[in-house]
């Protein structure tokens, strides 16, 4: 199985704020919710978030700042949706570190099984 992924250093750099933005349970929940049911209004997103509407707004803006979400206006209400490409990029970053572990573990396997 050959997984060839060539991403530039620039794309790794771009992923950094994505990692930071996702390092929060509430934000992860919002991302999961938007992923399953989006686009959604702030009202809908606040319903089961377990935090105030103001807090939800703040978290959504943090996600937007990392390029993970974007909004449009419907009347006076903002409707939020995910920007999936950024998430994909962050995941690719981890995938490559994951590939390094696979290679190291293959070497470990050869090392302990031949002796």
């Amino acid at each position: 199985m050959s997984r060839r992924r060539r991403a530039s250093a620039a794309s790794v750099a771009e992923a950094a704020p994505v990692f930071a933005a996702l390092g929060d349970a509430t934000r992860l929940k919002l991302v999961a919710r938007l992923s399953a049911d989006g686009p959604l209004s702030i009202t809908r997103l606040s319903e089961d978030a377990g935090v105030t509407r103001q807090a939800v707004t703040k978290h959504l803006e943090a996600l937007a700042g990392a390029g993970l979400a974007q909004h449009s206006w419907r009347g006076r209400e903002r409707i939020w949706e995910l920007e999936p490409r950024r998430l994909e990029m962050a995941r690719r970053c981890l995938d490559r570190i994951s590939d390094q572990w696979d290679a190291a573990l293959d070497r470990l396997k050869m090392f302990v099984e031949r002796k």
Binding site: S2, V18, F19, G23, R91, Q100, D102, R107, M110
Partner: protein, 152 residues
């Protein structure tokens, strides 16, 4: 579509007794043999161990790990700076990821679980695309080897 961006988890079955696998992980010489690094000290809880990479093409690099925990027969854990590959950059002020090796007996061998966590705190922005981020050298030799590793 959501998976954790904070951790990587690997499980591998090794056809070798647990004591053998343990030795391959917790003795610096043996760890270095398969990981391709030459350490300058012993693994002891709280110790900072430095090593020189021996992987062809990356011999100019050094690495540093802080041994977090050694639980006989069960666990080996250390912290390091993932992909700290630029000799000109001082990574010491940056957060480290935690790497844990968990050992368990399994029929005919040993089950090894590896967890690397803490990526959400790491500024990957400053890491050039090399060493652990460089899949070329590291992944190539893995291609024809039977893969026992499954991703969590």
């Amino acid at each position: 579509m959501i998976t954790s961006t904070d951790r990587i988890e690997k499980r591998v079955f090794l056809r070798a007794p647990r004591a053998r696998v343990l030795r391959a992980i917790i003795t610096p010489e043996e760890f270095g043999a398969w990981f391709r690094v030459k350490f300058d000290g012993a693994f002891a809880e709280g110790a900072t161990v430095r090593g020189h990479i021996t992987y062809p093409g990356y011999e100019h690099l050094t690495m540093e790990m802080v041994v977090e925990r050694i639980e006989p027969e069960r666990l080996f854990a250390y912290r390091w700076h993932p992909a700290a590959i630029d000799p000109k950059v001082d990574y010491s002020s940056e957060p480290m990821t935690l790497v844990e090796f968990h050992f368990e007996d399994a029929p005919g061998g040993t089950l090894l679980k590896i967890v690397e966590s803490g990526f959400d705190r790491i500024p990957l922005a400053r890491r050039p695309d090399a060493f652990r981020m460089n899949e070329g050298g590291w992944a190539e030799q893995a291609e024809n080897i039977e893969r026992y590793v499954t991703q969590a």
